[in-house]
Amino acid sequence: MASTLQPLPHAPVVMVFGLLELLREAPGGREDLYKLGGPLGYELDDLLPVTEAAKQLGLVQVVAGDIELTSEGAEVAAADEPDRKHLLGPRLATLPLIADVLQALGARADGRVGKKAFRELLEQKYSPGEAEKQITTAVDWARYGELFDFDPDAEEFVRGTLA
């Protein structure tokens, strides 16, 4: 589970879509990353998790300070729900932590695995607060991609969706 030590950027999925739609409208499908924040009323620091998330998902690339849509990003930007979700699901499954939880769930006959083990692992590298945030972000994205669910009562990740 070495890859769990790579951090997930904390960006809500709908914010990432907003970025894709913005780039879709930009001339030539690209924007200057440093100019992007101003008109949106963001500090660059607020925007970074969003651009980082889009980058990790292979939806954008950053070239010489410009951010532009990849062909996959353009496809997701142009799609309606639920197609958008179906396009993104397999990409979300490859992200650190999400991939690890999926692997652990695959090895369990009952399709459940406790959150505790993952939190302890994350706490070797992050503060307890950040470890918790990593899990929250992973669950948010995994739910969006319909990859796994989280049972808050049992504090367990659950394969598929909770019935």
């Binding site: 879509f17 907003g18 970025l19 913005l22 949106l40 309606d80 948010d140 739910r143 990859l147």
Partner: protein, 259 residues
């Protein structure tokens, strides 16, 4: 993204007619009206105006949760009495029940309509899927980002299949990128034949938002709230970009009316 079909027929049916309504505080301070407007079938109508122009008051009257001091609200040939069963609301503050899951929050209005559990679940699932929330059915509101919370609000309103969707500053509590995604999605849903809602009434303080989304915009002035003008925007091609010259021009014209 699918653009809503333009509806150019001015003779089409009127869904709601607001006739000479007035609202007074303590029976004597006039805060709104007399004011008339109509919401037509299959249109996206926005009400813009400064604070104090009574735009939320007007929305609440149309939803039937506030009775005007004077005047009448007509639903087709019928006078509105009590809650407007043909309308559903989306709130700025999301107004979700924190102790209910996404699925139960979306289904709550259907329970009030007296629908059985199976029908309720099927309809809730349908609208959850349409807004892109599949996978979140068992999540609780506190686990969701603000944007996702408002998607639950939208799914809940659409699930009761109202003729009219009333939205009170639905994107104002969201960051710019999230708001952009949700605006697009609302247009998509409105154009989707699987969604039963015919017309959308949006109350917003953002002139740009009103112009990029609406077929018509009612501009209100304050103290007391009254109609300054109603603009027909059917001629503006969709999808509309905020920086398109025709959009900018219309935005400036509305600011001129408000000044």
């Amino acid at each position: 993204m699918a653009a809503p079909t333009p509806h150019l027929d001015p003779t089409r049916d009127v869904l709601v007619r607001v006739e000479e309504v007035e609202q007074f505080y303590h029976g004597r301070i006039r805060i709104l009206g007399p004011l008339c407007l109509e919401i037509r079938e299959n249109e996206f109508l926005s009400i813009v105006g400064p604070s104090g122009s009574g735009k939320s008051t007007l929305l609440r009257m149309i939803a039937g949760v506030l009775v005007p001091t004077r005047g009448t609200i007509w639903l087709g040939p019928k006078r509105l009495h009590g809650v407007n069963r043909g309308a559903a609301m989306v709130f700025q503050s999301f107004a979700l029940f924190p102790w209910l899951t996404v699925l139960d929050n979306v289904g709550i209005g259907l329970e009030a309509q007296g629908q059985g559990p199976r029908e309720r679940a099927a309809k809730a699932e349908k609208y959850i899927e349409l807004v892109g929330l599949r996978g979140y059915e068992r999540a609780y509101p506190k686990e969701l980002s603000r944007g996702m919370k408002q998607l639950v609000g939208v799914a809940r309103a659409l699930a009761v299949e109202p003729e009219l969707l009333c939205m009170d500053e639905p994107f104002s509590a969201l960051d710019v990128l999230t708001a952009r995604t949700l605006r697009e999605l609302v247009l998509e849903l409105w154009a989707n034949p699987e969604v039963m809602t015919k017309s959308i009434l949006l109350v917003t303080h953002s002139v740009e938002e009103a112009v990029t989304l609406s077929d018509r915009v009612v501009v209100l002035k304050a103290n007391p709230g009254r109609v300054a003008d109603t603009l027909d925007l059917h001629h503006l091609a969709r999808p509309r970009r905020a920086d398109a010259p025709a959009v900018r021009e219309t935005v400036d014209r509305i600011y001129g009316l408000l000044a």
